[in-house]
């Protein structure tokens, strides 16, 4: 009765070997999409089954796992995947970027620079950057094989002719190691520069599409652009209402139904560390704090992301029942903000 129902990290060893072979191939050919036999996972596709399979394949008993969703450790997706690995692998988990050996992420790259000891695993919905330009998969494979990437620039051209600038703000196409054009998963283009010459191994898993691709450590990753319209990682500035950071990626949080809003770091760990280091910085913000949001530089519209796609989420406390370990930040999560931080940022408008 009490016998463990699952193999370590859920997947059986043969499956893990199969995934590892795909990962090795992906590392050998940076940016190339390697097909793999994606498995059914006990969660819906679209919840990060690709990333979960990659993580399960590389996870060892001594690893320390961090899972983030939109930069945040306490959102539904992150919490359930973390619980999944606690249950099936019993590994240590953390919310601290510095302490983690494997970081599984949806839609963000942590603000803290990663190290050679770490692996970043991305959950990818649509791995094919040319998909919306050329619907035929046979044709896009051919285009990758022959390095015919003129079409990618057609998309950027179209952006400029319609909006006066390259308006692609997430899933911004990159060229890896001077060869393959790659979709960096729906991360904001703010994070693109972090992929370049990154010390950590970056792995991308797309479960539904059955593709794995990778960026090995210290690989050149260039965002595509035009000579007269160069790539710009950000197009507006703002200040985090909690830690006063001006250089991090901000989420717009709806605080009430009367138009109140505030901008906070999307990377919760980054924000908490900054607040712990300089506790005098943040103003205490109350729920529904329209006063606080009035003092923010609203003109910039945060980072330009709309807030229309998700209603205000009921406040959720970072779960104190989570068996957090190895995270020095645990103390700070019970600090000033625990009462109001919504469970999810208002989401990438670009959920595809």
């Amino acid at each position: 009765m009490n016998a463990p129902a699952y193999n370590f990290a859920y997947l059986d060893e043969q499956t893990k070997r199969m995934i590892r072979r795909a990962i090795l191939k992906a590392i050998a050919i940076p940016g190339y999409q390697v097909p793999f036999a994606s498995r059914e996972m006990p969660m819906p596709q679209g919840w990060g089954t690709g990333g979960v399979q990659v993580t399960a394949a590389i996870l060892g008993p001594n690893d320390v796992l961090k899972v983030i969703d939109q930069g945040s450790d306490d959102t539904t997706n992150a919490v359930s995947i973390r619980k999944f690995f606690v249950k099936t692998a019993g590994v240590k988990i953390t919310t601290s970027t510095a302490d983690a050996t494997i970081v599984q992420t949806r839609h963000r790259i942590p603000e803290l620079p990663l190290t050679e000891q770490q692996v970043l695993v991305f959950q990818v919905p649509i791995p094919e950057p040319l998909r919306f330009l050329e619907p035929r998969e046979t044709e896009t494979r051919q285009m990758h094989a022959l390095e015919e990437y003129g079409l990618m620039h057609v998309k950027l051209y179209e952006d400029i002719s319609r909006h006066g600038q390259i308006s692609t703000s997430y899933a911004y196409p990159v060229k890896v190691d001077g060869r393959y054009v790659m979709d960096p998963s729906p991360t904001p283009k703010f994070d693109n520069p972090k992929m370049n010459d990154c010390a950590a191994l970056q792995l991308f898993g797309a479960g539904r599409e059955k593709r794995i691709y990778a960026i090995p450590p210290y690989t050149r990753v260039v965002s595509l652009d035009f000579e007269d319209h160069p790539f710009e990682p950000r197009w507006s500035s703002g200040t985090c209402a909690l830690c006063a950071a001006t250089d991090s990626f901000l989420d717009e949080i709806i605080t009430d139904d009367r138009g109140g809003r505030m901008f906070v770091c999307s990377d919760t760990d980054h924000c908490e560390i900054r607040r712990a280091a300089a506790p005098h910085v943040p103003e205490t913000v109350t729920p529904g704090g329209s006063e606080a949001s009035n003092s923010l530089p609203l003109e910039g519209g945060g980072l330009g992301r709309g807030s229309t796609d998700s209603p205000p989420v009921p406040p959720a406390t970072p779960s104190p029942t989570l068996p957090l370990s190895g995270g020095g930040s645990e103390a700070s999560t019970s600090g000033v903000d625990s009462g109001f931080r919504p469970a999810a940022g208002p989401g990438m408008t670009g959920r595809r």
């Binding site: 079409l151 057609v154 051209y157 002719s161 035009f226 007269d228």
Partner: protein, 262 residues
Amino acid sequence: MSNLENDRPLLQAEGLSKWYGRQLGCRDVSFDLYPGEVMAVVGESGSGKTTLLQLLSAQLVPSAGRVCYRLRDGAVHDLATLGQAQRRFLFRTDWGYVHQDPALGLRMAVSAGANVGERLMAVGWRHYGRIRSAAEEWLDRVEIARGRVDDPPSTYSGGMRQRLQIARNLVTNPRLVFMDEPTGGLDVSVQARLLDLISGLVAELGLAAVVVTHDLAVARLLSHRVMVMKDGEVIESGLTDQVLDDPREPYTQLLVSSILPA
């Protein structure tokens, strides 16, 4: 281009045949096409015209025979021995292919400017302003108002789409253009304007072209030479005026006499 180079054929077909299983596509077609020369392939539906065009443009693999093309560096290559990458490169630089249905040759969802600029971007242009002005210049040349450069072709009329398709093909200064019924599906007055435009561009740019058509008027207006096809075989060929004014074969006589008097 020196005169010496113009004396050598650009495209050579030798004994081209295509069988679709037991069904004949075309049989034993041979001809030379010289730079600046326009050849029309006429015949009724099912006579193998489009099969021939696809064989010539390396979209189909011939069952027998071969197609040789003289590249810009002067070397003559059998298309079958070129790698796929080279063939595709040819297709988007040195060749053009004008489809009967513009929706096949255009990207209907992106703007006209991007449609024209796609080939330029494919050969490495990375300056938005220059791509756009090249696109506008070409819209001028095919008589589309510059103000329409940001509109997608789905908002264009049939004649404009066909002209946009021509601009998209000619922007890289190809030497050889394949046209499959370029005026099909257009009304008569639009056809006349389009033919006028095509013949002007062909003369101005010194293009070689293979034009497939069932319309003898198109052949007469555009082409220097005519090949008449029936049941997959070439039954008559020669100078356009000669073939159309003094047809030898009974079938050609039938075709010519079936034109309604104007």
